[in-house]
Symmetry: C4
Subunit: 196 residues, 4 copies
């Protein structure tokens, strides 16, 4: 099945349904981030915590929620900017988009891990490593769109500068990954927001 | 990455994908409200509650569900009314819309809190405070759309009256926030529905 | 805010965004139905149930899942058929659609209740009563669309027969509600599927 | 209601809203797969597991998540390829699409089962059996679209080869079902990915 279908993915397919599907997936991943926060409330209540204690205890969860909300919405916007140039599909475009989508759907798991565990080489590798996959697949998408003019029929071509911008973000995340796993002690995930 | 991308957000981008993405996020937040209710049923059953007791015990949860359903759908409609005037995007429009979306995604958490905890200054500040953020970001969206004619290309401009309507709602919520946190005892969240 | 906005809902608004939003809500409600089933699996495993016992014990949950999946997708289809005639919005249309959407979002709760509790007057009233609200709001939507020609600009008008079909379904559900709450013992929720 | 509505489903209905609704359902099913993984993290933490143990213990869950993510996204893509040929709806098309959607929404449950239970005839029948339903309904959709030219008005017709491709996938899954339930011991679900 795969090969025949892959061949069928000639650049005459419209990108509209893929973009829509991707948006729905991102919207759900973004909204599901609040569920772990919601689950903690009745537990805290039944174990006798008052509101002040609940807020203090859940500060970490609130921080991780905010961080991942910011990260996912930022990546969605970068995806939006890229796909302004895309009117058609090709096999590689669909494949890289799938990897990008996978890393977004997966992110709630590393988010739960950095919430529950103290910063260590392992937690940094998991969380920042997932973001590296997101950023790398976005960069590959940018390269694919830049190289194949057939993907941008009827729209502005993506410029070389835009591809470089995406690659620069990836580079910064890679540096964060190396530094964070070498010196996990003082790591501050919020510093990731500076990268965007 | 951010600056370059922000510059790229010139008002020639179509608003369609942003509106779609926002709608998907709101639809999910709206539907997730029922999950805490659903989770309580098997627990109640296994602790031997009969149906009447379940309904009596979950009256608070049902009330919070109804309130937040009404609040979110009302805000969605106000967002819908505003975006009838919007055909293009700008950086500030996207930023305020992100804050609006954040407050909607976040709302299930304050909802869980007003369900589990008695009314107090803290619960009022959390719940009504979140609504103030929603309303304030919507008002800023209204101001942004009213001021920048380029955002309404090919559509009716937003009138001054519509901006004032949005600001009036914000004012009423601010009054509710102050009154509710000063006199949390007799607070009745249902009174919030009168504001809409 | 409400009145001004209501007046603004003149039938010149396109129905597209409302239809899209409604679809997203229904899609989520439909998909969330599987969550209680999924939650039971690790519990069953850790309490030492083998696969055969798990299937036997969860037969009720599987039945409720199938029933509510069938009910929601059937109602979605009826909504789809109705909105083929709708190109514009009005205040009453939006209000009845909101009530319809509310009953769909709410349905997972009565579904959890008929799963956990034996059939009784109370469970029948809750589950079938929710369906009566869905069906009644759909009938009111049908009446609204039939009466106001401005809502169907550029599309086929809804016929009197289609309104009657919707009203007949509502009548059948009302009969089911009365019979089911009078004789809850032998009630069989699967019989509801015959109504569709 | 049903018959009248079914008659109304003449091939003059646009396929757009059905495709959109199906996409939203698939996107949600895909994203919900991560929830069981997320739920395990705080539990592991509170029972004193360190990160390494958590990763080792959750390897099975990670594998099932990856498998079902790959399976669902692969089936979505096959659906996408098929519906490029579809511009109109008919009763059988809607019915087979509903069965297809049902099997996708249901998949998280067999996924939870192959995660919690050792491979056995029963687990293989449940998981691979669900995929057989997905694949069979997709093949029936392909046959329906191939036979009824009215469904492809204004688009390329589906070729006989594309129908055969879909049927071949179904055949391979049936072989996997038979082999897997006869020899469940050494079964390796990851082998399923080779089928795609």
């Amino acid at each position: 099945m795969s090969w025949r279908v892959s061949r069928a993915t000639r650049p005459t397919d419209s990108s509209e349904r893929l973009v829509f599907f991707t948006d729905a997936v991102v919207a759900i991943a973004l909204t599901l981030l609040v569920l772990p926060l919601v689950d903690l409330v009745p537990e805290a209540r039944s174990s006798g915590l008052d509101l002040e204690d609940l807020l203090r205890e859940n500060l970490g969860e609130l921080g991780s929620f905010l961080l991942s909300f910011a990260v996912i919405s930022r990546f969605w916007w970068a995806h939006h900017q890229l796909f302004r140039h895309v009117s058609r599909l090709s096999g590689p475009l669909v494949a890289w988009n799938l990897l990008w989508m996978f890393s977004i759907v997966f992110l709630p798991w590393p988010t739960a891990i950095i919430t529950a565990y103290e910063p260590s080489t392992g937690t940094v590798l998991l969380y920042v490593g997932t973001l590296v996959v997101t950023s790398a697949s976005l960069t590959m998408l940018a390269v694919t769109v830049h190289r194949d003019a057939a993907l941008s029929v009827g729209r502005d071509r993506e410029t070389r500068d835009e591809v470089l911008g995406s690659a620069t973000s990836l580079g910064a995340l890679l540096v964060a990954l190396v530094l964070g796993s070498l010196f996990p002690g003082p790591v501050n995930y919020k510093a990731l927001l500076l990268l965007f």
